[in-house]
Symmetry: C2
């Protein structure tokens, strides 16, 4: 195991597409924990679409990344040196840490999962923020009821997979789309979608959906925005609900204003009118604002997982040096399920 | 008073801008009521933006107008001949009737206001659907609370004026925009807006609003969509609410799909992302779906009106033959307050 610490910094702010040129790789000595600090060996790093807007200047819901600073993301790791009360060597911790092999922390914001933790990647996916996001959107925002019909865009992605499984557990019909035939096949044959389509090869999302689910869509779990969302809204039922979770079609656009580019339209005026005429509610949300629902979900998810009713699906890249390319892959649809980066073996414990 | 009946029919379906060429004027003899029918002398006709989408083919929330049929709208009139139980000569009735001087009805869908009715135009504005729309949007959809800040587009229009008055009665700060300096002046000096701007001469809605209400917008009552809505959303506070009432910027567009034209974008992907990052709820609604809230409003409005706290503001065109041009004026901003067409004198009663 490396005694060096490779860290990924933001080199420059992307305007438009993010690329490898916006990252910087530096290698330092493995750090040591100081007074009231602990040293964490990072095991898995999560790369997520929301990190792209954090690379822009200006306020988002997160403090923007700073140029020359190490990037930050969801990490699960093991405490290998500790001078912090409540954290012992061998404890598994989870929280926001750097894109690096080793992190120093005073424990602030970290969740201590204890020593007896299995299947760490589950905690980065279906048992973590990913699963909770799906639940808060479906149950909290969209008030999903048994037997309704649900559509989810980016269905083969991390949140998409969780949405599908939770909606299926609620006896709903579930439809979705993805960007390759292989993913569509996976959605229908492995995740059990009632039907799915490849949005890249379908000429009209609206017509495809009209054929696919003539009963209409009650709940749209939106991850994309733009052309796909437009087509879904045209197939929504009266008093439908849109849980607005992400707009990945936006994140790499050079401009953020309406009419500034051919791809910058999130919803047409005709689509807005449909929100009125069908009395549709659209609600944007951040999972972090709903701790009670997250706890409620955590209890249910543990039960479902134990009964084999819920599964975690991850794509794993290896090595911190590959974190930037794994991140870029989110925008070109490389991943199926949650994209993680394995920084260190899950099996080696307390290997200081 | 004319013994003839002038009626306005839909001549052809507009594609894009509606014009006088889409209407047909016909004159027939004054009709007579048959068995179980009554004859109504129409006094005021309401022309409203939602009638434009009704001129298109295909299902909206209303049955589309048919070519060659008389157009339909909100009317208040007087019964001048009746063979319908519960309706007597001299009763004032309100409901959906034709764009014509005299209507025949079997009473279905008509509200009988009785004989002792004053200020009939109030019932077509602040005491009717207009006031109720403002109330349902502000209270029902947007859950407006005392002391919040409210923005309303098309503020000098019928619903805009009601929104302003109701929000002011709830001790809110209220901002708005309109399309002429004269209207902006009227909004601030007569309706008591905290501030307003002319959207036609302002280069950036977003920057104008940022200067005008640095505290941010809690509730947006949306009548327009597109560029104005985009700028407002960029100034909304966390957990803000958008009551989506109308998209008048859409109604005259030849195409209804995103990216089909430079003006067809209702909200950019950047705007959608803002809905997420600020956790904003946007809800489309039809006033007719909330009868309980309408009754609640009716009681309050009668009290407020009696105390002089609520005022009706109407623009009145005269003569059924001028109904089409009054209707067209809604899209070019000719009206201030509720646009009505006076078909017959309010004062002449039972003048069969």
């Amino acid at each position: 195991m490396s005694e060096q610490n490779t860290r990924i910094l933001l080199k420059s702010r992307p305007v438009g597409d993010v690329g490898l040129e916006h990252f910087e790789w530096v290698t330092t000595a493995k750090p040591r924990a100081g007074e009231d600090e602990m040293l964490i060996r990072n095991i898995y790093l999560s790369v997520d679409p929301y990190m792209r807007p954090r690379m822009n200047e200006g306020k988002s819901y997160f403090r923007p990344f700073q140029i020359g600073e190490v990037l930050e993301g969801g990490v699960i790791g093991e405490v290998i040196e500790s001078y912090v009360a409540g954290f012992e060597v061998g404890d598994i911790v989870q929280g926001l840490l750097g894109w690096e092999n080793y992190s120093i922390s005073n424990g602030s914001g970290l969740k201590n999962l204890g020593k007896d933790v299995k299947n760490l990647s589950d905690h980065m996916d279906i048992l973590g923020m990913i699963g909770a996001t799906a639940y808060v959107g479906l149950v909290g925002m969209a008030d999903l009821r048994e037997g309704e019909s649900v559509f989810v865009s980016a269905a083969a992605g991390a949140v998409g997979g969780a949405v599908i499984q939770i909606a299926k557990l609620m006896n709903c019909r579930v439809y979705g789309c993805a960007g390759t035939d292989q993913k569509v096949d996976y959605l229908v044959n492995e995740l059990g979608l009632d039907a799915a389509f490849n949005y890249k090869t379908c000429s009209s999302v609206s017509e495809t959906l009209a054929d696919m689910c003539p009963e209409g869509i009650d709940v749209n779990f939106e991850n994309v925005g733009g052309r796909i969302m437009e087509g879904v809204i045209r197939n929504m039922n009266e008093k439908g609900r849109v849980a607005l979770c992400g707009v990945i079609s936006n994140y790499n656009l050079p401009t953020q204003e309406a009419n500034d580019g051919p791809d910058s339209c999130g919803l047409s005026v005709g689509g807005l009118f449909m929100l009125i005429s069908r009395q549709i509610k659209m609600q944007g949300f951040l999972v972090s604002a709903y701790p009670d629902l997250c706890r409620e979900y955590g209890l249910k998810a543990r039960g479902w997982l134990a009964e084999g009713k819920l599964k975690s699906r991850v794509s794993i890249a290896h090595g911190i040096e590959n974190a930037p390319s794994a991140f870029l892959g989110l925008f070109t649809g490389e991943n199926t399920g949650k994209q993680l980066v394995a920084l260190s073996s899950e099996e080696i414990r307390s290997g200081i």
